[in-house]
Amino acid sequence: MTFKRKIVHSSFTLLAISVFLFTESTSARAQEREIRVAVAADLKFAMEELAKEFESQTGTRVEVTSGSSGNFFAQIQSGAPFDLFFSADVEYPRKLEAAGLVGPGTLFEYAQGQIVIWTPADEPLDVSRRGWNALLDPRVQRIAIANPALAPYGRAAVAALQKAGIYEQVKTKLVYGENISQAAQFAQSGNAQAGIIALSLALAPGMKNGKAWEIPAGMYPPIEQAAVVLKNGKNKSTALAFMDFIKSASGRKILQKHGFAVPAEKQQSNDSTLRGSSRPRKTESKG
């Protein structure tokens, strides 16, 4: 009985040791070929494509975690093991830089976000034709935006509503998502009849069939978004390579395709075409 138990016991120990050794060695190997990237919710779908492209170019795995920029900011300050942070604004990266948590000189404004008014496909409002007036329709009881206290997209939405002169009229209709993704989900599920969301999310797979109206870029302060390479990351050289990829033509093209306006690169002269904000972009309406 005791002998049998001893065998069981020791085989368990062996198993535990071998599992430990195995995972240790594989994770150590994987670390060289893997970077962890924290991205703002609006960048989720663009980053998936960027990660895939980078992976096929370099063979490095890119682990993407998406969420609200504020949350990541707090997590990074407490030592979260990300190699890069793509924020939905420039303030958080700047604060991290000031706190000395960022690789010097790595802060890069990778894109400007754009906002649209979005309604579900089964909502009878013709937002693509009526624009702001659609929000005044009595059938619109709830308008989802990101929480302006936390999210740059929420602040942009409020600014645009004020600029359009209808903020006071629709103020009581506003519901706040914790981040821009949640605001989009509120509208997508139909719980809110309309939403002011990131163009990048309106172009996302689950939302493409809705109707969208692009809010003119001059109606809200630019949503400048910056990324940084983090000091706490395990793989700095690969992180820098990834940042270079974001700055490259193929990286910029992907960002643009997903509804971001990308900054013109100074070295290249024929780059004015890449600035999405200067020309009105046609958003797919109802598929």
Binding site: F73, A74, R142, L150, Y176, E178, G190, N191
Partner: protein, 226 residues
């Protein structure tokens, strides 16, 4: 401060509703001899093991204009159920259900069956037995159910985040406000509210355990004629 009173209002509503709906269900679960009652017991316990995201996800679908509940609500009241106080009450009732029902079942089952038989032999009907024998004997359980469902609703976060929409005075509960403060890096404000919740939670649990250990019995818990 309005988020605190809102949370208390929500927790109060939920606790009262749960006590009224939980008692008949707990009674049935405690005394029924039906073989398949384990099914209902499992359903009652589900919110204990499910993450709030599962409940929040289904609640947001059900309350939406394409969900059954949402359609019914729109037909009755002309607006959806999401982002309303009523919607939060409903979601919280489901979420806190086991916290009310399980203490009730435990205390009902703990009563000596001979007393119930004696009451029946003396000619008391089921309702009278419940009122005069079961209820007085299971008062600690009732208090536990009431207090736990109140406290659990007060501490609810995930479901409110998913179906609430963060409306000041309507769906912005204390837990949501704390989260907002933390995200906005207002740690001082977050700390104030968090400490308050911590104190309330500790006080409430002390009350429950004190009553159950009979360390202290409040006057209103001493049933007349005992």
């Amino acid at each position: 401060m309005s988020s605190i009173s809102l949370s208390f209002e929500l927790a109060g509503c939920v606790a009262v509703i749960l006590l009224l709906t939980g008692m008949p269900i707990a009674y049935w679960l405690a005394y029924s001899n039906w073989r398949s009652k384990f099914l209902l017991e499992s359903i009652v316990a589900l919110p204990l093991v499910l993450p709030p995201t599962v409940l929040g996800f289904y609640a947001s679908l059900a309350m939406g204009p394409r969900g059954l509940l949402g359609k019914l609500w729109i037909a009755l009241f002309g607006h959806g159920l999401a982002f309303t106080f009523g919607g939060l009450v409903l979601a919280s009732v489901v979420y806190s259900f086991p916290f009310a029902v399980q203490p009730l079942i435990a205390s009902f089952e703990g009563i000596d069956r001979k007393l119930l038989d004696a009451s029946a032999v003396l000619g008391a009907g089921r309702w009278r037995t419940f009122r005069r024998v079961i209820l007085p004997l299971s008062l600690p359980g009732v208090v536990t159910a009431l207090v736990l469902s109140f406290a659990h609703t007060l501490g609810e976060f995930g479901v409110v985040l998913m179906v609430g929409g963060n409306l000041a005075g309507v769906t912005r509960t204390v837990s949501i406000e704390i989260y907002d403060h933390v995200e906005a890096l207002e740690y001082g404000e977050a700390n104030q509210l968090a400490l308050l919740l911590l104190a309330i939670a500790f006080g409430v649990l002390c009350l429950v355990y004190a009553v159950n250990r009979r360390v202290w019995t409040p006057a209103w818990l001493r049933w007349p004629g005992k």
